[in-house]
Symmetry: C2
């Protein structure tokens, strides 16, 4: 691992290109570049670099390469698996000054953005034009498109609309060599050569640095309705989800929350009656006529599956409060106990009830409070364990490992949407096996032969 | 290029594993393994191999590698760019005996198939269970899933539902080493490591051979309506397409056909009034209520855009006749003149009218009949030039090159869904540029270092 001296020499060379004001080496100012929203302990980098343009970003990479200094790309810093933490020190290359929405083209149904654009800003900008960009990770008010593409971010609406990767049309990528590669295409279809844009999507900043992102848009659905179904038990709620799937409904959102989450949401100000052990939150969108019909079917289906009550959030205020509570759930859970760990396994949908029950008993066996919520329609669960007693830490780690093994045993994955980063590295080989690991290493070596890009992540 | 002797020695070794009956060396029997539906001249391979299982397929690859013999994977042989033509001889590895639908799981919304399953058979099997697999290339009655994944096949329904790659969850891939790599995931979401399944999808048999494919399914839409709008001119029809897009409608199909195609369809038995110069074919699906509402809006929108008449195909017979005519268009056009070349450029949707007009004048300038049809909602056009006089061949080649350049000039792509294969190789670098070409070569070398897999394709 190269020492800070080498990093500072690289930073000095970079300041000759960018000017001093965009090369940060003051330790106080550097602190905010050290962490993300994962359990990975923050590490303050040796310097942070703030390019404004693609060619500046590319030049920074080539200088870092010359010096053999690690570069950790940083977008919103809201990742859940350590992707933005410079675990080996060196430079953080932050895209906060590359934050322009360059183009929204309603005719082409395309948006072109720089990597530092905040997701919610893009949502607003396209929706103003009657357009829609579906991906909606919970951090949407602070996460950036560059990070979304790097992590192939999901979110509740992935159930109907798919994840970030389904919307990436074209990427400009700065490579460690300092070259800028353009891949993908502006038209919605294109099969000229290998899917290079797909290879970079979800590569967690380990293969290249995005400098421009072209995204597919769709027309904004004319109507949305939010439905909250209250269940007396978690397994009932799981069966409710499966009943909605079996009914052939395609809501845009199909979320579950267990008892601990229900209590947390209630404490956060959403009025919920007592005796509720699980919630199913669903959203239906489309034309007015389609939503009206689906709403009725969803209500009937959830009631038949055992929902105690099915509430329709009619007003925007009601809907916003519900969604704010859902989005803040991860942080709100953190404040309920001294310690928290979480992951986001995904399992085949038919295994949902079985997995939910197993997770509860894994938590119980280790004396932990478990709080599970997530995108149940996709089988993607955010499994959280909470505890106060420091003596339970080893048990929590064991519980987490059991959840990961459970997911794989159920033919699932260790990460539905948060990625591997540094936090989940030990589980990657368990999932991929030898051949896929070898190919993963080969790809990293092909694109980043000196391993300067986000070292310590994925591999 | 290794000679037939070496290929025959490899075939002999393979026959020791598979038995003689599944290693074909008789020239008469070999003929059907030599061509596809492109302009690439067929070439009869030295031998054809018919494995039944993944491990047999992998073993065949490793034997071919030992002998340094080219292997051209073959699924339905319906490709449009020479992907299945063994241009360097050697072995054809056909998957016709790997044709089992292994699983359709309505709970998980997943199908698991072998590469030799015919697409229409999968459509029937999943639709029988109330499920839906959207991709629908015109060759659906004879193309196979292995080829669909290799080419990342599209089809009319891609407008709403996306292309094959949007449905590939997991792939088992036999590598030249003889190893079998499993990549992707059964749950609908998964971000553990790089998107390896995405890398193989659309790689045209140049990186590995699929032995098992896990596909995402969705609920079958409850209602479908087909609408045919008749236009007096091509530009009007193009504006009709744009009006539908601008109205925020998301039909599952939004196709265009120009005058020559109209005549061909009419000659094929679809009754169309005179004076029609272009058709827009659209399909709306969803719940009964949604389709009824959208149908009305689509009709109004197309009429306002200048459609002379808007017909709704109400019965199945009417719908099937219309679609059969559309699917047979490529072949029907071939019989109208002695010679035909076609490609499938895609352009940003807003450029549609401009591109349609330019294509017509390019054809005229070279004395060719032009026939353009395709997935206009996606900007993906099948541009066809027809001629009788052999002296026009050079002009046709020039016209084609002009169309390719036009697509790139419009920020489009040289192939929306047919791929590069051998036929479009010369246009790939024009589109990708130096960096993306270098990465493409690097990926090929990483996965197929001896270049035995489908040589002469893409690169």
């Amino acid at each position: 691992m190269p020492g800070p001296d080498r990093a500072l020499r690289a930073a000095l060379d970079i300041s000759r290109v960018l000017g001093d004001s965009r090369v940060i080496t003051d330790p106080d100012q550097l602190e905010r570049f050290g962490g993300d929203e994962s359990e990975e302990p923050p590490r303050v980098p040796d310097a942070a670099i703030l390019p404004r343009t693609a060619s500046e970003a590319a030049r920074c990479l080539s200088i870092a390469s010359e010096h053999g200094v690690p570069v950790t790309p940083r977008a919103g810093g809201t990742g859940k698996t350590g992707g933005a933490v410079p675990v080996e020190g060196g430079l953080v290359l932050a895209c906060e000054k590359m934050n322009r929405i360059k183009e929204i083209d309603a005719g082409d149904l395309v948006a072109v953005v720089e990597p530092g654009v905040i997701l919610a800003d893009l949502h607003c900008a396209v929706e103003d034009q009657g357009l829609f960009y579906p991906p909606d990770p919970a951090s949407l008010d602070s996460c950036c498109l560059g990070g979304n593409v790097a992590e192939n971010a999901g979110g509740p609406r992935a159930f109907k609309y798919g994840v970030t990767g389904h919307y990436v049309l074209r990427l400009d990528v700065a490579l460690p060599s300092g070259a800028i590669l353009r891949c993908g295409h502006r038209p919605v279809k294109g099969v000229a050569g290998y899917d290079l844009a797909g290879l970079f999507t979800g590569s967690e900043g380990t293969l290249g640095l995005f400098t421009e992102i072209t995204l597919r848009l769709i027309p904004r659905p004319r109507q949305v309705s939010t439905v909250l179904a209250l269940f007396p038990g978690l397994a009932d709620a799981g069966r409710g989800i499966q009943a909605v799937l079996a009914a052939g409904l395609v809501p845009r959102v199909l979320e579950i929350m267990d008892r601990e989450c229900v209590d947390t949401v209630r404490d956060g100000g959403v009025p919920l009656p007592p005796g509720i052990e699980a919630l199913v939150l669903t959203e239906l969108d489309g034309s007015e006529a389609a939503v009206a019909g689906d709403l009725e079917r969803a209500g009937e289906t959830l009631t038949r599956a055992g929902a105690q009550d099915v509430l329709v959030a009619t007003g925007t205020v009601e809907r916003d409060r519900l969604w704010r509570a859902r989005r803040e759930l991860s942080e709100a859970l953190r404040s309920r106990k001294a310690h928290k760990i979480s992951d986001d396994v995904a399992v085949p949908r038919s295994r949902l009830v079985a997995v939910l029950e197993r997770i509860e008993s894994i938590g119980l066996a280790h004396g932990l409070v478990s709080a599970t919520y997530g995108h149940a329609g996709d089988g993607n669960l955010h499994v959280t364990f909470l505890w106060d007693d420091p003596g339970l830490e080893a048990g929590a780690a064991a519980a987490r490992e059991e959840v990961m093994r459970l997911a794989l045993e159920m033919d699932g994955t260790v990460s539905g949407e948060h990625g591997i980063g540094s936090v989940n590295r030990r589980y990657l080989e368990m999932e991929l096996g030898r051949e896929a690991m070898a190919l993963t290493r080969g790809l990293k070596k092909l694109l980043d032969p000196a391993s300067i890009l986000n070292p310590g992540k994925i591999l």
